[in-house]
């Protein structure tokens, strides 16, 4: 329990700093924000009104306090383009991205776990070389290019899968699943490479430990030892890095959603940037950071439950 409290207290300074950074974003805009948003020919009245709407006519500390107060009540401001609440736009887009992120993560695990186990078990032999080569390809191939190539082959040439469009899961589950498949594979591929390398080295470390030799010498089969004893322990450090993986996936999805034209969270940020809708950009960046912080806390707490050594240290 004290561990949980300590872990939660630790997030407070991070939250404060994250909000300060997101708040500062709009002040990094070179020159006059209102002019940048409205253009050179905007009237002084229009600029003053926008400054007022954004609270830019107040002193900085007051701006931050007002903004953070509204954020705490779940108000991220209104879009500069259509005046709709930013939370509403994010609320609509986030489930799509969450579905993609989960699907990509599943794809990553489905590739990484077997590949990592094979690589570590057959260290220095063919399966290891093949898995490692695959990992280097995965870490080096630009996901958005992979997406374009996947669209060319599977959607344009073979017509197996749709190239864009995203029917909601509730209305058209099958169409939704088809639409999720390519983006999830493309985004998950890179994460699979990272996770596979991690699982390989963690598994090699576990397999050199005494309890593995004990398990082998009491007569258990090699694969029983690997699956029942080694993999379970080796997965712990891999699971701890899930927070990083989620951050990587959220970033990767910005590109994937653009390539596949999926109305998700990443597409929202990109569109907002081109419309100079800094309020939406600010809100979306804040939410993405909060998501990463949240996942990290959950991962750490789960980890502490699974492994008492963490709690007691």
């Amino acid at each position: 329990m004290t561990f949980a409290i300590r872990r939660l207290l630790l997030t407070i300074p991070v939250l404060v700093l994250v909000t300060l950074m997101v708040f500062s974003l709009i002040h990094l805009v070179p020159g006059d924000v209102a002019t940048v948003i409205l253009g050179e020919e905007a009237t002084p009245q229009a600029k003053a009104q926008l400054d007022h709407q954004l609270g830019l006519d107040q002193p900085l500390p007051a701006q931050y306090v007002n903004w953070i107060g509204r954020v705490a009540r779940g108000d991220l401001g209104n879009s500069l383009i259509d005046q709709t609440p930013v939370t509403e736009a994010i609320g609509q887009r986030l489930p799509v991205t969450a579905e993609l992120a989960i699907a990509s993560f599943i794809v990553a695990l489905l590739i990484a776990i077997p590949a990592g186990i094979f690589a570590a078990t057959f260290r220095g032999r063919l399966p290891d070389y093949v898995s490692t080569m695959f990992a280097f390809v995965g870490m080096s191939v630009p996901s958005f290019w992979l997406g374009i190539m996947a669209i060319i082959f599977f959607a344009v040439r073979l017509r197996w899968l749709p190239s864009s469009g995203f029917p909601p899961l509730r209305d058209d589950p099958l169409g939704n699943l088809q639409a999720v498949l390519l983006p999830a594979v493309v985004t998950g591929f890179r994460e699979a490479a990272v996770l596979m390398r991690m699982l390989r080295s963690s598994l090699l470390e576990v397999m050199s430990m005494d309890f593995i030799r004990t398990a082998r010498s009491k007569g258990l089969r090699k694969w029983t030892v690997i699956m029942r004893h080694a993999v379970r322990n080796a997965l712990i450090p891999v699971a701890t890095s899930s927070g990083l993986a989620i951050a990587g996936l959220l970033g990767g999805l910005v590109l994937t959603e653009t390539v596949f034209n999926i109305p998700g969270f990443g597409r929202l940020i990109v569109t907002a940037i081109f419309q100079r809708d800094f309020v939406t950009v600010q809100g979306a960046v804040l939410v993405s950071a909060l998501l990463v912080i949240g996942v990290n806390v959950i991962v750490d707490l789960t980890y502490a439950i699974l492994d008492p050594r963490i709690r007691l240290s």
Binding site: P13, V14, L17, V18, M21, L25, I26, L28, V29, P30, F136, V137, M139, S140, V141, P142, F144, W145, L146, I148, M149, I151, I152, V156, R157, A247, G248, L250, G251, G252, V254, L255, T258, V259, G266, I269, V270, I273, F274, F278, V281, A284, V285, S288, A289, L290, V292, I293, N296
Partner: protein, 303 residues
């Protein structure tokens, strides 16, 4: 090298009076011996070399001016004249691909150099002085920066600073700083506790001398590994930002913007998307393989 060489085909027995030569090799020599045995790493170095040569000698290698427009030959197919065809303004795709190496080479150096310039001093200060400066300030800022998904942070920064190559470089650099601070700090914590540092202090060396002459040189190995990993990530990130339109601006040729263009023609001219993507892939692969070789060379136990 010593004159005495160990005799290999004789069995050495206990009690034999045999002088065994101990060859002293510098760390750099040991590194090189291990590195050159790593064939993928050599291949990586070769890929990086090709990219650098293309970037430096682009005006000599490229068959055409990358910005010369041929309005009679828009989106032309590959021919013996234009090996990779022409784009929507009739510009030679191959020439633009070759010139595009310049952006990627710059993208592999600039953000990483900026991040090193910020990350090394911050890591040294945090690890050496500890206390509030470390736990209360620098590391909390590092934690906060790491809460942002790398590409989302880079995208948002590039957007508020305004589209353009230099701003994209700064935006990418910010995302790399936390990694370098953490690595340098960790090294400093380990090294500062060692006896030779206490010895240096006892001899009257000041903080600056200890940090720069004793701690920094000994903490550089993992920084070097992280640098090559970051260079690979920087090329990917720059290509991504340019692809989204917030990086390199037209008409400067870059692999990312070439893919943005190619994306509009995937139905009729899918071949346009192949070459820029392969170029990005090979450049990133080069740095990843090279970085892995550096890691193995510096610390053979890591593999």
């Amino acid at each position: 090298m010593s004159v005495l060489q160990p005799v290999s085909d004789e069995v050495i027995q206990a009690g034999d009076d045999l002088a065994v030569a101990v060859v002293h090799r510098s760390r750099a020599t040991l590194f090189w011996i291990r590195f050159r045995r790593n064939k993928p790493a050599i291949f990586g170095a070769f890929l990086i070399g090709v990219m650098v040569v293309l970037a430096i000698f682009a005006p000599i290698i490229a068959p055409f001016d990358p910005n010369a427009q041929d309005l009679n030959n828009l989106i032309g197919p590959p021919t013996s004249h234009h090996l990779l065809g022409t784009d929507d303004l009739g510009r030679d795709v191959l020439s633009r691909l070759i010139y595009g190496a310049r952006v990627s080479v710059a993208a592999s150096i600039v953000p990483v150099a900026l991040a090193l310039l910020a990350g090394i001093p911050l890591g040294l200060i945090a690890g050496y002085y500890r206390g509030f400066l470390d736990e209360g300030l620098i590391m909390r800022v590092v934690d906060a920066l790491q809460a942002f998904p790398f590409l989302v942070l880079a995208l948002a920064l590039a957007a508020v600073l305004g589209p353009g190559f230099l701003n994209a470089m700064i935006a990418i650099a910010v995302g790399f700083v936390p990694g370098f601070v953490r690595i340098v700090r960790g090294q400093v914590l380990q090294i500062a506790a060692q006896e030779y540092i206490q010895g240096a202090r006892a001899l009257g060396a000041g903080d600056a001398r200890i940090l720069l002459r004793h701690i920094l040189p000994n903490s550089l190995a993992p920084v070097l590994v992280q640098t090559s990993v970051a260079m690979a990530a920087a090329i990917l990130a720059e290509a991504g930002l340019s692809f989204l339109g917030v990086g390199v601006q037209p008409p400067t040729p870059s692999w990312g913007t070439m893919l943005t263009f190619a994306q509009s023609y995937i139905v009729n001219k899918p071949y346009l998307a192949v070459a820029p993507g392969v170029a990005i892939f090979l450049a990133v692969l080069g740095f990843n393989l090279f970085g892995d070789g550096v890691r193995d060379g510096l610390d053979p136990r890591s593999s």
